[in-house]
């Protein structure tokens, strides 16, 4: 009977991911240099949902594997959701403590690795220049950098522009001041109605007492 047969699609996907990481690292010499401090370390990421184990071997080039029976620097176990939150966290140490991820081994090198990859800054001009030449590649590079910068500022800018259009140009929505004024008006009207109701009740009671005497 065969032992658990490997998933060839997953093996191929891991190979593709490994190639992509090494491609990116080739064009970010700063990160590659910083990674040297972690050379020889092996990190195991054990995902419970979906079930998957991935070993990250810090080397030049970096290696990913699904099988490894040697010593591991840090083993982290959690769900895909937990790992995504950790990978994107501004404060990885805090995220690690507050998450459901369990860490076995040293956590310091793991946090260092997360920080290094967070600051990955790939020089896209170089691979493009290898194909289309230096000058056009520079133009494309400038375009890519502008697009990336724009994409970073897009969410707050876009929100401001949509608000402006809805309030001032199309007048589809009231401004915050208009809404506050309206809410105050409603509150005042509510109080006035309550007072009037109390006054009416008072008058009715007085009339009933006058009729009884």
């Amino acid at each position: 009977m065969a032992i658990n047969s490997p998933n060839m699609l997953r093996t191929a996907a891991v190979a593709t991911l490994e190639r992509a990481i090494n491609f990116a690292l080739r064009y970010d010499p700063g990160t590659t240099l910083t990674l040297e401090s972690l050379h020889g370390q092996v990190f195991a990421i054990e995902c419970t949902e979906p079930a998957l184990i991935l070993f990250i071997h810090i080397d030049a080039p970096m290696r990913l594997s699904e099988h490894y029976d040697g010593p591991v620097t840090t083993r982290i176990v959690g769900s895909l959701k937990d790992f995504t939150q950790l990978a994107t966290a501004e404060d990885p140490a805090g995220a690690l403590i507050n998450s459901d991820i369990s860490v076995h081994g040293k956590s310091g090198p793991l946090i260092e690795l997360q920080q290094i990859f967070k600051h990955l800054d790939v020089d896209w001009e170089e691979p493009i220049a290898e194909i289309i030449g230096d000058v056009p590649a520079h133009q494309v590079g400038v375009g890519i950098r502008r697009a990336a910068k724009f994409a970073k500022t897009l969410p707050p800018k876009l929100q401001t522009r949509i608000e402006k259009h809805l309030y001032e140009e199309s007048k589809l929505l009231p401004t915050r001041a208009d809404v506050d004024q309206w809410v105050d008006g409603v509150a005042k009207l509510n109080i006035d109605i309550e007072r009037m109701r109390a006054r009416v009740m008072q008058l009715r009671n007085r009339r009933q007492r006058g009729a009884g005497s």
Binding site: A2, S5, M8, T11
Partner: protein, 249 residues
């Protein structure tokens, strides 16, 4: 007069002493187009099978690795990086044409320094006892005339605790897949060989030799018989290919 011993060469029965020369003829013929044919025949999946083999091998820095029937050096290139300058990889093949293609390819890729090339018959390996941490034989064992002798020879050169990995075409588990695979092997494969390598016969032999190769359980038994322990196998792509592993006690 003593009777001539026979063995199989694909579906043909041939004299034992003739088989080595006939297999050599096949690989002399396909050596130049070997890599491109592998990609075409397997739609590139052979790279994934080899990657899995490397992962299971557990090769580390400083190890000595024997890549038997190493052919054009796919595994050797990866092992060379893993063992580092303090380790050693020996690419051995019985066929000088394959070694020449492999050596040129690896040298062009800059894979030098820790790689040696040896022309050797797997049945009587020219290495000291207990020399290697890992021995791999990928898509080579089915071409060996005396597989039991080859397994014993590998056991001898492995260090105690060393690992053998046999990556080889095998027998699909699913009968439907077997049928589709037979159609592909005997109808399409020889035509592909004719078109790309100009040699339909060699690829007809390839298909036949796969069918004549022992199935997964039989090969596992042969490894145990040769003296390996912790023998087991992984089926890949539905059993079209199997990876057997065993450890020298």
């Amino acid at each position: 007069m003593a009777e001539d011993k026979t063995t199989h060469f694909g579906y043909k029965t041939v004299n034992v002493e003739d088989k080595v020369g006939m297999v050599a003829g096949v690989f002399h013929s396909v050596a130049a187009k070997y890599d491109i044919m592998n990609d075409l025949m397997s739609a590139g999946i052979h790279r994934v099978w080899k990657r899995f083999t490397i992962e299971v091998s557990g090769v580390r820095k400083g190890n000595a690795v024997l890549d038997l029937a190493g052919g054009t050096g796919d595994l050797t290139a990866k092992f060379s990086r893993l063992v580092g300058p303090e380790g050693k990889v020996v690419l051995a093949d019985i066929n000088d044409s394959m070694i020449r293609v492999g050596r040129d390819k690896l040298t062009d890729l800059g894979v030098v320094g820790n790689v040696e090339y040896v022309q050797a018959n797997a049945e009587c390996l020219p290495f000291d006892d207990n020399s290697f941490d890992v021995v791999t034989i990928a898509f080579g064992l089915r071409n060996v005339t005396d597989k039991d002798a080859a397994l014993r020879s590998i056991l001898r050169v492995l260090k105690p605790g060393g690992r053998l990995l046999v990556l080889e075409f095998s027998h699909p588990e699913n009968p439907m897949l077997q049928k589709a695979y037979d159609t592909y092997s005997f109808s399409i494969l020889p035509k592909l060989g004719q078109l790309v390598a100009g040699d339909a016969e060699s690829y007809q032999y390839l298909a036949e030799s796969i069918r004549m190769h022992p199935d997964q359980e039989t090969l596992k038994g042969m490894m145990q018989e040769a003296g390996f322990e912790q023998c087991d196998f992984y089926n890949m792509t539905g059993g079209i290919v199997a990876l057997h592993k065993g450890t020298k006690p």
